[in-house]
Each structure stands twice: as C-alpha cells, then as structure tokens.
C-alpha cells in the first residue's frame, strides 16, 4: 500500500510538469496576453513595453524555462493582471469554493442514495416515478437556467433567501467560513442546490440501477425463499454492489465541482475559484492559469488515489498493486 501511494505521488510530479507545458502551449495558441491586458486605447509603444516586460517577445521555450526555474524556487509568478502572486490569488478563494463543493456533495449523498434506493426497491410506486421524472429533468435543465429561476423564485418573488453573494463569514482556525452563521447558510442554500442538481440526478439513477440488479440476483432470491425478510441484508448487498460506481462518480464530480463551478459561481456572485479561472482564461492571465491547473491536477490525483484506496476497502477483490 505504501509503495503504491509513493509511486502514485511520484507520477504526479510528471503530470504537473506535463500540465504546465500544455497550458503554455494552449495560451500561446489562443492569443497574446498583452493584447487583452493593455488599455484599449494604448499606443504601440506601450504595447511593446508590456510585451517586453512580461517576456512575451522571447521564444516560448525560453519563457517556459524561466517559469520552471522560478517554480522550482517556489515562485509561481505574479498575475499579469493583478501583479500579485498567482498562488495567493488562488488560495484566497479556496475556502469559499471548498465550502460550496462540500455542501453540494453533502446534499448529493444524503438525498441521492436514499431516494435511489427507494426508487430501486419500489420501481412502480408513484413516488419512485416522481423521483425518476425529476431526476431526468435534472439532466436536461442547463445549470445557468435553473440557477436564475431559483433566484427569481426564492429571492425575488418569495423573498425567502438572498439572491447572491457569500454573506457573513466567521473565522474558523483563521479561515473564513460561512456555514457557522445563519446569514452565511442562507446565502449558501441556493448555490449549493444548483451545484448538486445534476450530481443528485446521476447518483439517484446509479443507486436505483444497482438496487434493481441486486434484488433480482440469486442470493437475494435464495434469501427470500428461505424466508429471510431482513431488509438489512438486502441493504448490505445493495450497497456493496453499487458503491464502486458511486464512489467513482462522486470522486469525479467532487473534483469537477471544485475545479469548474464557474457557472454557478458567476450566477450567484460566489467569490470562489471558478470565477477566477474563467476571468483568467478570458484575459489570458497565464501565471494564474498555470498555477491553478497545476493545483487542480494534484487535486484530481489525490481524489483518484483516495477513490482507488476506497475501492480496495469496499471490495477485497480489488487489489491495488500495480503489476509492473
């Protein structure tokens, strides 16, 4: 196990490097950051000064080499736009995003698995049909549409919840969090629901599918025939059967939520990382994009590592050693 984890971490170093190269090539292909950064009425001399200042006139490999040399010293560079360390800009925003992502994950797991189990056990009951109908709806509705509709309904018409923003935050171990104040929770409800809607639908479906499979399987039939009615046994079997796909999906979705909650964060003016990355991409603020995506790669590696370890805990048939 330890060897497995260490090997995985070593691989991640390579991956982070590959990512940084890809981002450099990508930004280079898209456009010249100087053109998006300068004032629209800047003179040619000002433009050239900016190009030289950021080293954009040098060949790409030279720019990358300089970046790498600084990165090895722990300096990921300053944002072109804000002239502040890219890492600082990103870390400032991590708490807000993490908080929202956890809230969404919470909703997904807490509602999705029970509803899916119900729909799987009683597929022809009316509530099951409603659950499945709503979950189909959950896929079809674009996130931005749902978000604004919720704002219009609950904030503008009913006036129950605030329309946007993060609300009051309290410092917990020096990190600002909003789930400890009533005001903060109110602000979090709508964006968290908006963010979890798709995942919830997915988890309901996966759970239902797994459940149906198990209740028709031989051992359950056998158990039933023997007169065993304990739903506990069924539950254990069901959960065993569905947990692997669900863990995979939850891991992937959690990662996606943290990394790319862009649309929800924009609609709810949530001060998280999703907004930062979309702004950085649209201004081609390369240092921020590179630092951000390198961090996200590490995050995905960690999540997938944890998921792989969970596999082996859930199902002893899964062995972790990667046969060389």
């Amino acid at each position: 196990m330890t060897v497995f984890i260490i090997r995985r971490l070593l691989q991640s170093v390579v991956l982070v490097l590959v990512m940084s190269v890809l981002v450099f090539l990508g930004v280079y292909a898209i456009g010249n950051p100087a053109d998006t950064l300068i004032a629209p009425d800047a003179t040619e001399a000002e433009r050239i000064a900016i190009v030289e200042h950021f080293g954009l006139d040098k060949p790409l490999y030279a720019q990358y080499g300089k970046f790498l040399a600084n990165a090895l010293k722990g300096d990921m560079g300053n944002s072109f736009k804000f002239n502040e360390p890219a890492l600082k800009l990103i870390t400032e925003r991590i708490p807000a995003t993490l908080e929202l992502a956890f809230a969404a994950l919470f909703i997904t797991v807490l509602l999705g698995i029970p509803l899916g189990l119900y729909a799987g056990f009683k597929p022809s009951a009316l509530p099951s049909k409603i659950i499945m109908g709503v979950s189909a709806f959950g896929f079809s509705v674009p996130v931005f549409w749902l978000g604004l509709m919720m704002v219009m309904t609950f904030a503008v018409i009913l006036g129950w919840l605030p329309a946007s923003g993060r609300g009051k935050t309290v410092d917990l171990f020096g990190i600002p969090v909003s789930f400890l104040t009533w005001d903060g929770i109110q602000h979090m409800i709508l964006p968290a629901i908006n963010l979890s809607f798709f995942k919830l639908s997915l988890i309901i479906r996966l759970t239902r599918a797994g459940t149906q499979e198990v209740i028709r399987s031989d051992y359950i039939k056998y158990a039933k025939a023997k007169g065993l009615k304990s739903s506990r046994i069924i539950l254990v079997h069901v959960l065993k059967n569905i947990l692997i796909p669900i863990t995979t999906i939850l891991g992937l979705e959690f990662g996606r939520t943290i990394a790319f909650a862009t649309v929800t964060e924009t609609i709810f003016a949530w001060p998280g990382m999703g907004k930062l990355i979309i702004d950085s991409i649209s201004t081609l603020d390369r240092p921020v994009i590179v630092a951000y995506l390198m961090m996200i790669v590490i995050m995905f590696i960690m999540i997938n590592l944890i998921v792989d370890i969970i596999y082996s805990l859930l199902d002893p048939r899964v062995r972790l050693e990667e046969r060389a």
């Binding site: 898209i30 456009g31 010249n32 100087a34 053109d35 998006t36 950064l37 300068i38 004032a39 629209p40 009425d41 800047a42 003179t43 040619e44 001399a45 000002e46 433009r47 050239i48 900016i50 200042h53 300053n78 072109f80 736009k81 804000f82 002239n83 502040e84 800009l89 400032e92 925003r93 807000a96 604004l148 704002v151 219009m152 904030a155 503008v156 006036g159 129950w160 605030p162 329309a163 946007s164 923003g165 993060r166 609300g167 005001d183 109110q186 924009t266 609609i267 709810f268 003016a269 001060p271 998280g272 907004k275 930062l276 991409i281 649209s282 201004t283 081609l284």
Partner: protein
C-alpha cells in the same frame, strides 16, 4: 447598524423608507448603508496601478485627481483650483487650501509633486498611467499651494492628463507594495470616502469621510459587491440585496421600467461602436467571390463599396430592435458636446437601393462573399449587433458569414491583421475626439505612436496632416476646427470606418434614491442621493 440584509424584500423596502425618514430627520444616530451591485471589480487599490475603468471607479471613491472630470467629461476644478499656461512649456496650478487626507495630513504641493513623480515608478502595471505624465519634464513647488509644471513639448491636453492623476499623500513610502495597497495600508486619499475593507470577489467597503471638503455623502457606509452576471445583478436589486446596480442590459431595462420599486437612469456614453474594414491591402483574407474563388482586387479598398456598406446599415432599426433603444446612432467619432464634434456629420441614412447601385458601379453587381468578425464578450450585445449588421449586408446581395469570438482570441487576430471586416468599439474617455481619431484612423506608425488601433490600416495624408496640426495647437477653437475637418475627411469623404452608434449606459436604483449619471460610465457612491 441599519443594514438591509436579513430581511424579506418587503421588509427591506420598509427599511429603506425608514432610513430615508431618518436621514431626512437629520440621522438620529442610525447608520445608513448603501449597497451597490457592480458589474466589474478593481484590479488593485493602488490608484496609480491601472487605467482600466473598473480600477479607476474604485480609486474615485477614495482618491481625487488633480483636475476633475465632470459628468459630461468637462475639466473642472478639484484639488487644483485653477491652471494656466505661463508659456507653451510651463503651466502653473493653484491648489485648494484646507484639504486634509484621511489620515489627517494637510494636502499641499508636496503631495501633487510626489504623485506625479510616483507614476513612472509604479512597477509591473499592464495598463500604466505613464502616458499621462509623458509630456512632463519636471514639477516644482512655488509655495505650499502652488506648483509649476515644466513640459518637454507643448501639450494642450495637459489638463486632461492631470484629470487622470490620483493624488496620494507624500508620506506614502516608496517601497509600498501592491499587497500593502490591496490590504488598505496606504489607501489614504482626500476623497469622499475612507477605506474600510476589500475582499476580492466579494465586497469593497468604504465609509463616509466626515472631513470631506466637497459635498458629503448621504451614507455612512457603502458596500460595493461585484455581481458580473447581468441577470443576477438585476435579481439582486429586485430582491433588495443591493440598492443600486450599474450596466443594466437593454433587455432587462424593459422589465425594470415596468417595476415601480425601481427607477432607471440613463446617459449616452462615450463608447463608439464601428465597423472596421481592411481598406489598404490588395488582397484581404476573408473576402472572396460568391463562388469562393479569390477576387482580383480587394473590394473594401474602394470607397464606393465602403459607402454602399454604410448605406446598407439601418442604424435606427439596429438601435431600437437589437439594443432596445439603449444607444444613439452616430455618424462620427464623438457625441455632440465634445471637442472635435462636426455638426454636419449625421448618421448615414438607410438606403438599400443606392447601396446596390454603388456596388454595381464599383463592379460588384452580384455582390461578393465576406466574413464579419466580432468579439462576443466585450460590448453591449456585441454578438447580436454583428449578426444584425451581417443581415443588413446580406440584404444588398453579399454572402455574409458572422463569426463572434471571445475578445482574447479576436483582438490578437485583429491586431495581426487577420480579418477583413470586423466590429469594434472605442471609448472616448478624454471627452475629446483627438485620441480616438489618432488611434483608430491615423496612418499606422509605431515609432510615432500613431494608429495603434488602426487595424484596417486606413491611410490618408490629408487626414494625418490635420491630426498632427491639432496635436500641437493650443488655441481651443482652431484645434476644434482641425479635428472637425479630419472627421469630415474620414467619415464623409473616405468612409474609413463605418460609425454605428454610441452605447447608452443605464443604472437602476431603488425608489427613493437618485443617481447623477456620468458619461465615463463610473458608478460613484458620492453621486447617489436620497430624494425626499
């Protein structure tokens, strides 16, 4: 604190009514809070870091410039009471007395000198104020409230430049970092508000400066919240989360106009939208015959074709249909009232028959194929506008493709002259036609700083001569005449670019509040007032 959060919409309306009553009664100890939903966010709180509008808007709340720009972009006294030319290379400024910085320091000549001299030393700015001090050789104090500015070359535009120089106290340390500013350490100005806190992406909070020399704010505290998404900003206003929002999009105005809880305030702005054409090259990448084969010459080089394109555009319909009236059709670079405005240059009339005739005369009776490029995340309804212009061109027999792209992609390609015809905008923030004409239409010359935005490479020596004459002319009237003549050459004779319209900027405020709108699009909390 009498803030408006934590209440239902209903109660918030009441709360606002309550604060107004309190304010009317002389503010019986309750604190009034104004919440503003903004579409943008500053890049930094160092007022000399970036010239972008979003950053200046934040600076304007706390700092003041040496000369101020009025709501109609006229130069008016601010920290400088008066300015006069001693000789073409020397100006003298009289400064306002009795002004104090937020930290108690008295304002004087030393602060003006410090602020002017600090600009070239602000590091790493992508959009620097250096150009506003480029003409200045030296600044010296005559006495505590008089300074003299020595120039390298005559510069009739000096007062305009001074209106971009924000004044910091001379006690600001030389090594103050951008981080110090962003944390508020040296955010000390003379303006109507004092810094309280800034959490990037979430809120920017200021409080009233009780010692402000000018009109004091009606509010004890102002909270700016960046809400970049247009419908979300409207929703925040309707839900009572904020009291004022800026940049209301044309489609949302329709709905807000019907809502009696809010009122709309509009003002024609300074951003001129236009169609730029590749008018100097013999071959243009995105123009072909209708069969897809290259043409033997570039039709856009022919003024007749450009006139035909201009006549094909129904500007009135474009403005009323696509922008819901939130624009003013234009026939030149600047709106009425600005220096260089030529009264005889009216928006081109809509005339499809004449356009077709001109095309035929130019040798294209059956039209040609063309791709119109446009940004899609930069200007008011830019993508729809491009599509509509494409529709108009199709009506006179051209085959038109419309490609709308993110600004980052668009501007890089446009700067590399990869397009044939494209939609673009220019903000005349100086209140004067010179900068726009020079940047967009003067013959491209990097070393002379001319034609930086001339991505169609229009070139006419007559035009250049007039622009150069205006640049060194100190007499306001003569300068105006030169600029008007230049405009006539470009717009009437050559149709170098096709002006479409000026964007109108709209604010929405809750009933009971009022806002003094500005041409430069800034949302200044000090200009929000309570109406009785």
């Amino acid at each position: 604190m009498h803030s408006f959060d934590k209440a239902t919409t209903w109660r918030k309306a009441l709360a606002l009514a309550f604060t107004i009553v309190l304010a009317a009664a002389g503010g019986l100890g309750a604190q009034t809070v104004l919440k503003v939903g903004t579409s943008t966010e500053p890049a930094s709180l160092d007022p000399q870091y970036s010239t972008t509008g979003a950053t200046q808007q934040a600076s304007q709340q706390i700092f003041e410039t040496i000369v101020s720009r009025s709501q109609n972009l006229r130069m008016s006294p601010s920290l400088a009471l008066s300015w006069k030319e001693v000789d073409p290379l020397t100006w003298e400024l009289k400064l306002r007395q009795g002004v104090k910085f937020h930290d108690g320091k008295d304002f004087g000549s030393d602060d003006v000198i410090f602020s002017i001299k600090r600009i070239p030393r602000v590091p790493d700015s992508p959009s620097s104020y250096k150009r506003n001090v480029a003409a200045i050789k030296d600044v010296v104090a005559v006495d505590k409230h008089t300074v003299r500015i020595f120039l390298k070359t005559p510069s009739p535009q000096l007062p305009i430049d001074l209106s971009f120089i924000y004044v910091l106290p001379s006690t600001t340390p030389e090594n103050a970092t951008i981080d110090d500013f962003n944390k508020g350490k040296y955010v000390v100005g003379t303006g109507p508000f004092k810094f309280v806190e800034w959490v990037r992406g979430d809120r920017f909070v200021v409080e009233r400066n009780p010692n402000y020399w000018g009109q004091k704010s009606s509010f004890d505290r102002v909270i700016f919240r960046p809400i970049t998404n247009d419908p979300s900003r409207v929703a925040a206003l309707l839900a009572g989360d904020v009291d004022v929002i800026d940049n209301v999009s044309p489609v949302d105005q329709e709905r807000l106009r019907k809502d009696n809880r809010v009122s709309l305030i509009s003002k024609p702005g300074v951003t001129m939208m236009y169609i730029h054409m590749d008018s100097n090259r013999d071959k243009s990448p995105y123009v072909t015959g209708k069969d897809g084969k290259p043409l033997d010459k570039n039709p856009l080089k022919d003024p007749k074709v450009r006139e035909a394109l201009s006549l094909a555009i129904n500007r009135e319909a474009l403005v009323s249909r696509i922008l819901n009236g939130a624009a003013v059709p234009s026939g030149q670079f600047v709106p009425e009232g600005m220096v260089g405005y030529a009264p005889d240059l009216l928006p081109e009339p809509y005339d499809v028959e004449k356009a077709k005739r001109l095309l035929a005369e130019a040798g294209y009776p059956n039209g040609f194929s063309i791709t119109l490029h446009a940004p899609n995340d930069r200007y008011l309804n830019d993508e729809q506008v491009a599509q509509t212009v494409g529709q108009f061109f199709a009506r006179i027999g051209l085959d038109v493709k419309v490609q709308a792209l993110p600004y980052s992609v668009f501007i890089t390609a446009a700067t590399k002259l990869e397009y044939s015809i494209f939609l673009m905008g220019f903000g005349n923030t100086t209140g004067d036609a010179a900068r726009g004409l020079t940047a967009v239409l003067a013959t491209y010359d990097a070393s002379a700083g001319l034609g930086a935005n001339n991505r169609g490479r229009y070139s006419n020596p007559d035009f250049d001569k007039l622009i150069k004459a205006a640049a060194v002319e100190n007499d306001e009237e003569k300068r105006d005449a030169y600029l008007q003549d230049a405009a006539r050459v470009a717009f009437k004779q050559d149709r170098a670019i096709l002006p479409l319209y000026f964007q109108t900027i709209t604010w929405a405020v809750r009933k009971g509040l009022s806002y003094e709108p500005r041409m430069d699009e800034y949302t200044l909390a000090n200009k929000v007032t309570i109406v009785r």
